[in-house]
Symmetry: D2
Subunit: 342 residues, 4 copies
């Protein structure tokens, strides 16, 4: 960490600062330039409050040199993490590409089982389905809750596919006992109490990037889970909020290679939520595969007109079949380990 | 709501659409233009899933004409809501301007009581203090939790100031029994389960705008609370995330008059978090007062160097005294009712 | 176009509005809803000033139903435009994929000819090179100007590759006489005087999207050129400005399929400028090919350490050769005409 | 400037880097940390290509410590610049607050003279009026050009007010001979050829911030003008592009105090363009005055329904009179010199 001092700092202030930094356990080295004096901090700065130091009288600015995350950092774990989902151990990461598919919301026994069978036949290896739905409006359909989880478990039994579903509140955790992977939605990416709780589990967590969160913040949220001992975190890029309104969100395709360089965790892409348009799912799934994502999560619905939420972004099973086949032609056959090694 | 059809739609599709819309309870009127055919929906469209309709085959786009919120909408409640905080009934809104002040985190009995007395002497009428702190890093100080609430209650007893503190999880609600106003932080603005729970209380809620949430989304989150019967919601602008990095966030000063036009709820400003720099608190507090905010929430700390979080944005009690006096000279003396009436 | 009136508008105001709209040459039809009254405008609204109508007393809001661009609109020109560059007629668009490559700046005869030969050998079909460089700092290298163009022309002669170079001011146009395609940089995307001038030429224009411009604005700028009679416009996505700072800009990969739906013009991608990092060029070029772009423009330099500008984003000829081969494996073999037909 | 090396860099690479930096004229000092090795550069780094150094093999990142602008930097010019406009020498900056007002476009002799007289009577001291109008659509009204300038000069003669008008192309400069201040619009903020040309004049330049430009970029554009010897630059905040769509742009109110700290140049605010809504001009003008702006530029039109552009954001002379009076009550009475001195 580098502390940049104001021009012509008072000597007493600098003394006080150096002694305070020493108290915090840092070795310091100071270099005096023509226009600027700089203090370098040596030691573990992960826990330093950068804003506090910036607020001190003699300080003009502070810059981190090392990342504030450890468990998620590829520098300390150069090998790709491979996450195994469900009893069958479906592998994601380290060269293993998987497609997660299923309806936005679980609506009925027939619906979820029909879709589950269809997506399995097309090559999906994990079933998704929402039982708790975060909706902007309190008047919109919010999911079947416990009943939705029950129906998902039936579809799992019927097809053998492991399942993933979104949690919205720690209090609902007991309902997720048999859910194979728990999803944290974009709006809860910084619900730190929830992340902390999920860190105590030994079950994969699918962590979606918040609409306006940086990659560093995403990795810090993964760090919350990993700091609790749960190392099976899968990151998911699902579009960010920008000035552009032609699509609902802007898929940040660069995030995939950048994350692969910064972290050893698997990174998948959600092309359905990224844009909110079903006709864009195919080209964006293709781009995600070509750019090196470790998987996709795609909304599939057998009857879009009756889908109770997010109908616009769901594809039919037929369209999904074409997309899955298209994606297979584009996959590279390599891990990302060398990328972080540069 | 207006449904714009694709060019040259098939008659059968249009028939099916009209009949489906009728099933949903809408009256429709259709107008055929040279390039475009449009269907207008008449009826309460608050609960319509706009994305679903947009996904239908014959549809090119859908536009809302009325806002999707009701309880928070000034059109249906032209008079300013005046929220009363605490037993003493400190009024916010409808021409009543209040300054909420206190430390970022409650750290010790001495600290909170010293600050409370100081800010009261300078004109603050509500005491703020964090017991549960949302921190990006799992390794940063997270607040004193139950003990922090206890200390706040002591400061309340000592000074008579009502208190406001942030909740991060519904499970902590019992600790907030005697807290006069509960704050929902920016990161939890769309934690819908928490909002729903707070809607069951009869206690003011201070709802902060999320870093990347639109004003409409803020109002929809207020609507979640109000739909549960709790109408005492105060909105807070605290800066949004933009491309500019010269300040931590960009204070959206226009949000205050725009919100006053859209809603009857009080709107206050947090100049401390908006930019993350203590020297900007004074000019931004001045701008907020001049633009017509109903109050301010300002971080004050008696010893910034030891503040355990957000030190950079805290002002000293002396600086706060100057700011409070400055702000008083800028206040307009009017309600916002006429603004919404246009 | 739809005009939404304020609640309970005064009859006289509505009369006046209707008569004014009629004076402007529109047929109108009015529909009175429970909460809202709406006027539909029938006729060519391309030239209507939407802001003006929105400002009228009785009006709450105005929404366009049709796009404000005509020449660039796929609705009126369903077939893909194929642009031919140079005498040899290198085709871009309509299923023709091309790679444009070359150094950021032209620096010397030896440099440009060496790079030109190398990229041609690897499959590039058009040579790029900057003679006029827009630099944020007045103290940075600004290009060789006329001499740079001369050197480019020599490289063209030597290799037979058509050339593209950026123009920064209409006054420099005489220097571009023999340049095969003229580039408008991101910062000049809304330099309307320049666009108008380029519209008078009969030479392909490579129009880069501005850092913070919407796709509609990009199409309106293309419309400026096309309105002058020059229909050979190639659009280029090169990254937009967002809150994320991990990459210099955020490549908006969705822009490619969205533009293909809205317009018949070819769309290429610049993966070099999008992120400013040379190691990201390969994955982003792959994503662009997979998503359906009509070409790429890539910075290549034979000696990055001496590149006078944008060194960080330039790849070496060896790296370019690998990228060009990688991209070839990912190309789809179709035009985009059907996409716009939906 | 600080160069952060990659982990465990090869010694030969570091040697090569140090020798290259020395060749560029820098003194260097190197400090080896546990996780990271850092090189500090001593000397004038204004002209260093930060991207180039970042691209070198051994380098992980580079951070500037000093600002890349000199002439505009308050560190080297602590006193406020006071710009004098016109023969009468209307002063802006250093405690001198001025209101610039007038129509968006000059439309007729009668219009411009009527408005000029009205705004002068209400306290405006400089007249604005557009003769060249940058419009997104090639089909929209683009201004009266030379005739518009003529009419402005007549209004100047009639009222004695100095005038400001926007230039869109260097080729039009001869028409601006008698214009007292030349405006560079937001879309041309990085039209570097135009800036360079304006740097050769001895006439005040009103430089508007681009829609998506950082404050540092704004100062670099001012630096382009100042590097040519023209030191009379006035900066103008006019709203930035963000995700929020409730207003056309988001006025960045913090920009005013931040710019006052970074530069000695005057900073004014355009509340008309910032939001595109005339009813927001009053509250935002109030906020701008309270936050410490050196002036305002406000669109005023005597007949909004016939305004040929930007009607929605124009206020009537009556509304302007109220706004001007309101603003006067909010002005602080101080220069900004002490702010930059911290």
């Amino acid at each position: 960490m580098i502390v940049i001092l104001k021009q012509n700092p008072k000597e007493a202030q600098v003394e006080r600062l150096l002694s305070w930094l020493k108290d915090q356990g840092f070795d310091t080295h100071i270099s005096v330039g023509k226009q600027q004096t700089i203090i370098g901090l040596i030691g573990d700065t992960t826990q330093v409050d950068i804003d506090l130091i910036r607020s001190l009288d003699a300080v003009e600015d502070v810059r981190r040199v090392t990342e504030p995350y450890k468990n998620a950092n590829r520098k300390f774990h150069p090998r790709d993490t491979v996450v195994e989902v469900g009893k069958a151990g479906v592998k994601i990461g380290g060269g293993n590409f998987q497609i997660i598919a299923g309806p936005c919301s679980v609506e009925s026994r027939e619906q979820i089982i029909t879709v589950a069978k269809a997506v399995k036949a097309s090559g999906a290896t994990i079933l998704r389905g929402g039982a708790f739905k975060p909706r902007t409006s309190p008047y919109a359909f919010q999911g079947l809750h416990a009943e939705g989880i029950e129906l998902l478990l039936e579809a799992k039994k019927e097809t053998g596919l492991p399942i993933v579903s979104e949690i919205m509140d720690g209090a609902h955790l007991p309902l997720f006992e048999e859910v194979d992977m728990i999803q944290v939605g974009a709006r809860n990416m910084q619900n730190f109490e929830l992340l902390r709780l999920l860190g105590t589990l030994r079950k994969p967590i699918l962590l979606k990037r918040g609409l306006a969160n940086t990659l560093e913040e995403l990795l810090m949220s993964a760090e919350y889970i990993m700091a609790g001992g749960n190392e099976d975190v899968i990151l998911c890029e699902r579009g960010i909020r920008t000035f552009e309104t032609a699509t609902r969100n802007t898929l940040d395709i660069s995030a995939i290679p950048v994350l692969h360089r910064l972290t050893h965790l698997p990174v998948i892409v959600d092309p359905s939520h990224a844009t909110g348009e079903s006709w864009l799912v195919d080209p964006l799934a293709a781009a995600a595969a070509a750019v090196g994502a470790d998987g996709l999560i795609i909304e599939v619905h057998n009857d879009p007109i009756h889908a109770l939420c997010d109908g616009a972004q769901s594809v039919t099973p037929e369209a999904f079949d074409r997309i899955a086949k298209h994606v297979q032609t584009l996959l590279p056959f390599a891990s990302h380990e060398e990328e972080g090694g540069e």
